[in-house]
């Protein structure tokens, strides 16, 4: 009775068989691109200055691989770790109630964002010109001593030769990490500010202190906003390690490729090698970023992840049958 009616109502109408709109423009574009591609390939293969075999022969040599591992990969990881840690500290200072801390944080981000990285690295690399030794102690000690009639008063706690410590890797790391911290501070600050103030209030009302509520309540929620731009920062950092050439840091990918090029008068092939190496490395990071963002983009308690966790939890506590979805 009723099922007859249902079938007539539900009967599928005939599928649409219309003539699709033509796109002649697309075919023209394909033709033009094909010609351009052919020209490019011609360029790459017929010009001897590319010297492909030379490039392939040199770009995997041990000094270059060592430069890649230490000057590029290790430097990126270390500079980002220090940059993120310091960036969180600066961001928290920037949001504090203490006007002095706020001011210092503002000054820090202003300085390190205003000076170009390249210039910063050149400065850090040459700081040894200014002071041969870096010492920590009472400021203006000699001058103060003279006030009280003591000559050559020196109140120094400890010190080190800047040429020993602040050269190469350390100078480069300092330059990159300090500058990164300024950018990360802005990112972390935006992340913290994106969290509903009601969260802070609820945590305060429960009796949590500032540090506790930041660590347990605010920062975990700020992560959703912080993670994606941090991925971009990491990729930018990887590329910026090539600026270490100006410190200079010799155990570094671009420095090594550049050196080989200059030594052999085959500059161009080595620059092409640099392009290929950086393309390879950033592509790896891009893949990582894709998965990271997919993970964090799911957001708070959104069904998928929450259900997974729920399942884990039920398994852990023995589970309540019927509550767990298949």
């Amino acid at each position: 009775m009723k099922s007859d009616e249902a079938t007539t109502v539900r009967a599928r109408p005939e599928p649409i068989r219309a003539v699709p709109v033509r796109h002649p423009g697309r075919w023209v574009a394909v033709a033009v691109l094909a010609v351009l591609t052919a020209m490019f390939v011609h360029l790459l293969t017929t010009n001897d200055a590319f010297n492909w075999s030379f490039m392939v022969d040199k770009m995997f040599r041990p000094p270059i691989i060592e430069g890649l591992l230490r000057g590029t990969v290790l430097m990126t990881v270390s500079a980002m770790l220090i940059g993120i840690t310091l960036g969180v500290v600066v961001a928290v200072m920037r949001l504090s109630d203490n006007p002095i801390l706020r001011g210092v944080a503002w000054l820090y981000t202003w300085f390190f964002r205003a000076v170009p990285r390249l210039v910063l690295l050149a400065v850090f690399g040459n700081i040894g010109i200014l002071w041969s030794r870096i010492e920590f102690g009472v400021p203006f000690d000699t001058q103060l001593g003279q006030l009280f009639g003591i000559d050559n008063l020196e109140l120094r706690l400890f010190g080190f030769s800047s040429r020993d410590v602040l050269t190469g890797f350390m100078a480069g790391l300092l330059g990159l990490a300090l500058s990164e911290a300024a950018y990360m501070a802005e990112i972390v600050r935006a992340g913290i500010q994106s969290v509903d103030p009601g969260q802070t209030e609820a945590a305060q009302a429960l009796g949590m202190g500032r540090g506790q509520l930041l660590r347990r309540v605010v920062l975990p929620q700020a992560m959703r906003v912080i993670i994606p731009p941090t991925g971009n920062e990491t990729i930018a950092m990887l590329k910026d390690t090539s600026l270490l050439l100006y410190v200079p840091v010799s155990v570094e990918l671009f420095f090594q490729l550049d050196a080989v090029g200059k030594r052999t008068f085959q500059i161009f092939p080595m620059y092409v090698a640099a392009c290929l190496w950086y393309l390879f490395l950033t592509s790896i990071l891009l893949v990582g970023q894709y998965f990271l963002e997919r993970h964090f983009g799911r957001g708070h308690g959104s069904a998928g992840r929450a259900r997974l966790r729920l399942r884990g939890m039920n398994a852990e506590t023995g589970g309540t049958p019927g509550k767990v979805e298949p």
């Binding site: 969260q199 209030e201 609820a202 305060q204 009302a205 429960l206 347990r216 039920n314």
Partner: protein, 269 residues
């Protein structure tokens, strides 16, 4: 049990432990805007005090002053005899340190209009978090008690759920359990049901009634006249930053003495 409200004697010295909250001449301004203009209020231990008033009259602000989420400009607030936010010595007031303020807040539970559950934690974690983090309880014991509390608010089967997976009424009941986990002496409710769909209001009010029956001292900002009449031991009507009228809820609701109270009640009843 609830007929002991004697407004005429509100100024008499408190009989020590009997008084849970005592506010004297509380003033609070936001810039040029004076929101509280001298609030006096007394809530005895075990009492439920309902706070009524039109929007913008300063009810939330006053509630937030009680646990020092807002700093008051003048007056005194004492909870269980302890001055909130300050230490008085030799006639001088000293601001408390952050950790001391936090310690005072642990004894005062608060429930918000918009629940403010921690969205990245499960229901159970929401309740367990503060007692464990603040070293009040060992993890295992806290979990057990949290499960009991959640069972009591009717959510014993939602321990592993995330707040986003719950209805508003369920979220608010979790928020109540979360506050109770700190074993507060006093509970503050700021319009706990006004963000809820009408059919969910009852389940939250039931939990609150239960709590009142167990002798919890509560200050409740609400527009639920029925709740005030049934559960309230005292009713305070605020408008424009002052207490306009206070007394027994049934009395005030039945014959308001002030014109402003009358017109407000006419609107919400």
């Amino acid at each position: 049990m609830s007929e002991l409200v004697v407004p005429a004697q509100a100024d008499a010295p408190a009989a020590g432990s009997d008084v849970m909250v005592r506010a004297e001449q509380v003033h609070k301004s936001f810039g040029p805007l004076e929101v509280l203009k001298g609030i006096d209020l007394e809530v005895r231990a075990g009492e439920v005090c309902c706070l009524l008033g039109p929007s913008g009259s300063g009810k939330s602000t006053f509630l937030r002053c009680i646990n020092h989420l807002e700093k008051i400009d003048a007056g005194r607030i004492r909870v269980d005899g302890e001055l909130i936010g300050y230490r008085e010595r030799g006639g001088k007031l000293y601001e408390l340190r952050e950790r001391e303020v936090a310690a005072q807040r642990r004894a005062i539970g608060m429930v918000f209009q918009r629940f403010n559950l921690f969205p990245h934690m499960t229901v159970l974690q929401n309740v367990v978090e503060a007692p464990v983090l603040l070293g009040q309880e060992k993890k295992a014991a806290a979990r057990e008690r949290a499960a009991t509390l959640l069972d009591r608010v009717g959510l014993g089967d939602k321990l592993g759920a995330y707040p986003a997976q719950l209805s508003g009424g369920q979220q608010q009941r979790v928020a109540i359990a979360r506050a109770l986990a700190m074993r507060p002496k006093l509970m503050l409710f700021d319009e706990p049901t006004s963000a809820l769909d009408p059919e969910l209001v009852g389940e939250v009010l039931d939990v609150m009634k239960d709590l009142a029956r167990d002798g919890m001292t509560m200050i409740v900002v609400t527009h639920e006249i029925g709740f005030a009449r049934e559960v309230g031991d005292s009713l305070v009507f605020m408008d424009g930053g002052v207490v306009v009228e206070a007394g027994d809820p049934r009395e005030v609701i039945a014959n308001p003495r002030h014109e402003r109270t009358r017109s407000f009640l006419a609107k919400v009843l």
